[in-house]
Amino acid sequence: MSGVVLYFQVHQPWRLKRYTWFDIGREADYFDDALNGRILRKVAQRCYLPTTALLTRLVEESEGRFRCAFSISGTALDQMQRYAPEALEGFRRLAATGAVEILAETSHHALAFLTDEAEFRAQIEVQAARVLREFGRRPTTFRNTELVIARDVARVAEAAGFTALLGEGADHLLGFRDSTRIYRPEGTERLRLLLRCYRLSDDIAFRFADRGWKEWPLTPAKFAGWLEDVAVRRGADDSVVGLFMDYETAGEHQDAATGILTFLEGLPEAVARHSRFRFRTPAEVVALKGSALPLALPRPVSWADAERDLTAWLGNDMQRAAHEALYALLPRVKAHGDPGRLESWRRLSTSDHVYYMSTKFFSDGDVHRYFSPYGSPHDAFVAFMNVLDDLALRVGAPRVAVPAALA
């Protein structure tokens, strides 16, 4: 059985308000409600509402043959609840069809696995309980923030009871190996790793709307043909193609005028007609008894940028300093005991904040800039550190700022 796993990531960060040194100790409200509400409502209008309605219809019309998976960060769930409850209702309806698996991640889309395993486990548990509450089923598949996989991520995921883990099928991870096989991460026994087929995923997520692309316009039939080619090349019938992408790709980053929704609409029938593939959720794939090849994870692998590593979040001194200062504060925040302060800290742990500080492509102005509410990565760092200093004051910790060196 050749399976295609279509998984969408839904995430929105709590963006900070303009927060200067002079707000420290005076302003305990860090987040820009107006901006966050505006963005969430816009994305709901362009993507969450129409695309979720479309997918629900596809599941119903195909009588469940079309299936897919979602992970919705806790911060996105909170924002939907507050700013566009009808979008959350749409996801609930989609999940209620039974053809959609909701995955687990960290509640705040954090990079906790790198620095604080207890917090990593805590955020996973918060999110798993949340998914159970919102969608009626406890998740059995884990995807880490930005699809980062590493030895420790796999170990913690298995210990937390997950049976499947999603990851990036990066060339430098796989070498000669095939991203359409099922793997067992080293150091785990029962956990199965499903990988993203980045070429086919990015054909939909990035290249679809590019009129300069030689394959433009991409039709469902053509795409289904490419899927079939994968199986033909493998010469086997047990390929699993992971099509993993940001949900906002479908209607927001690429708007309806690009034809992306029409493409998705035609995909189930085209896949059924032109390929041997069937839509599967991650849990269904790993439930099939089959061999899993062992795979070593010597260093973290993500789905970002050409490097597929962590440099988009921890690539420069500002990002590392912010990350270190954030996690250094956590014990004090927890000891302080105020759930409101812990929630503030966790919102600051969302990886987007350090992503905004990336200088990798700042001068070229590209994808990093598209997502940033700041004029520059430096402004992102300055505001973040000011907020962190305020939080430090409020939990009775020493300020992060260090006095400028004396001569």
Partner: protein, 405 residues
């Protein structure tokens, strides 16, 4: 190619950045084989001119030709600039030597135009390249009489220098020159947009040629000797409204309230210097703000070496070469968004020109967040040092080729 280049000042006799840019540009042009005849209002004899032919108004016809009566009415210019702002009375510190001309700027320009006319009649050249409005009239005449193309080079616009009191005659001279030119070179895209909007120019005749730094030693000593105990915030430039020193003083009040160890160094002369000193004392900042007056040569290097952060809070800054000088020396830079240099220096903090609180916030951030200061220092130096006058000269030569084709 033989270039008749017209400029109002030439090092070491300079009031602003124009002369420095002219020297660096002509050196790079000469290195690329261009033949430059440069006319200044007055040649002192001590100018570095081995790479070109430098002629002063005083070299022409045994003295300065008087302006023809009736051609231009002699009027005092109330503008703060003449052509760039001069120090206010009591604190005046002439940049060098006696001033060759009287106080009436338009009379000086008429004299300059007469001198250029004479040079142009005797010399042969393929193109005229005039820097800033003072030489635009002379350039237009010379180009028209010789039947060669005119290129004008905008280092600053009247609206940059006197946002609150533009002189209509200067504006007219500037506009006439820009419209007469076959191509207009601007020191930043920001300046090109402003020139285009102010004088309704055809955008296809605008070209951007960013300034660069003159050759720097490979490594400059940092922190050689610190005179002050606490962190130092440096402002280096003319103390005039255009450069925003009053905004910096307001930011200084906020910064010092948080961190009293900080010293602000205001290096430069200008029409606002006296009132700035008075205001500093009046708001109780006298111990935290040091006024050095006009600095040159090694004193400038020392000022940069002592600085923990360099601030260019200009209300309007066509380029802002000092920001590159600071960045190249590894000093973190904060710019207002009204600075053209921001187009080539991305590793600098940027604030809106009038946003005092944001400026104070960023100063404190650089002084108290070592990761930020280190990144700005390292990346800023890399960016500033990557810019060269050689590539600026290549763009200028491309403009010569374009207009002569």
């Amino acid at each position: 190619m033989r270039v008749l280049m017209l400029g109002w000042e030439y090092p070491p006799h300079i009031a602003g950045g124009l002369g420095t840019a002219c020297l660096a540009l002509t050196r790079a042009l000469a290195a690329q084989g261009e033949d430059v005849l440069f006319v200044v209002p007055h040649r002192h004899g001590d100018e570095p001119a081995e790479h070109l032919e430098l002629v002063g108004g005083n070299d022409v016809g045994g003295g300065l030709p008087a302006p023809r009566p009736g051609r231009l009415a002699r009027q005092r210019v109330a503008s703060v600039l003449s052509p760039y702002a001069r120090p206010a009375g009591g604190l005046a510190r002439p940049t060098s030597g006696p001033r060759p001309y009287g106080p009436d700027l338009f009379a000086q320009i008429a004299s300059y135009e007469a001198a250029v006319r004479q040079v142009a009649r005797e010399a042969s050249f393929d193109v005229v390249h005039a820097h800033d409005w003072m030489s635009f009239g002379a350039g237009a005449q010379a180009a028209a009489e010789a039947g060669v193309p005119l290129i004008v080079h905008v280092h600053s616009l009247e609206q940059d220098r006197c946002p609150r009191g533009m002189d209509p005659r200067i504006l007219a001279a500037e506009g006439a020159g820009l419209r007469a030119a076959d191509l207009v070179l601007c020191v930043s895209a920001l300046t090109a947009r402003r020139a285009q909007a102010a004088h309704d120019l055809d955008p296809s005749r605008l070209r951007v040629v960013h300034n660069a730094l003159p050759d720097l030693p490979r490594r400059l000593p940092r922190r050689a000797r610190r005179l002050r105990a606490g962190p130092v915030v440096l402002f280096l430039g003319r103390v005039t409204a255009q450069k925003g020193p009053e905004i910096l003083l307001e930011a200084a009040r906020r910064v010092v309230a948080v961190d009293p160890r900080v010293t602000f160094v205001i290096a430069g002369d200008g029409d606002l210097l006296a009132s700035m000193i008075e205001r500093t004392a009046a708001v109780g900042l006298a111990r935290h703000v040091a006024f050095t007056g006009f600095l040159k040569g090694r004193a400038v290097d020392r000022a940069y070496a002592e600085a923990d952060v360099f601030v260019l809070p200009s209300v309007s800054e066509p380029f802002g070469l000092t920001a590159l000088e600071a960045a190249a020396r590894g000093v973190p830079v904060i710019l207002s968004r009204a600075c053209g240099v921001a187009e080539v220096l991305t590793s600098a903090l940027r604030v809106d020109a009038w946003d005092v609180e944001a400026l104070a916030d960023r100063i404190l951030a650089v002084l108290h967040r070592p990761a930020l200061a280190a990144l700005l220092a390292r990346e800023g130096a890399r960016e500033a040092r990557a810019l060269s006058w050689a590539s600026a000269a290549e763009r200028v030569r491309a403009a010569y080729v374009e207009v002569c084709a």
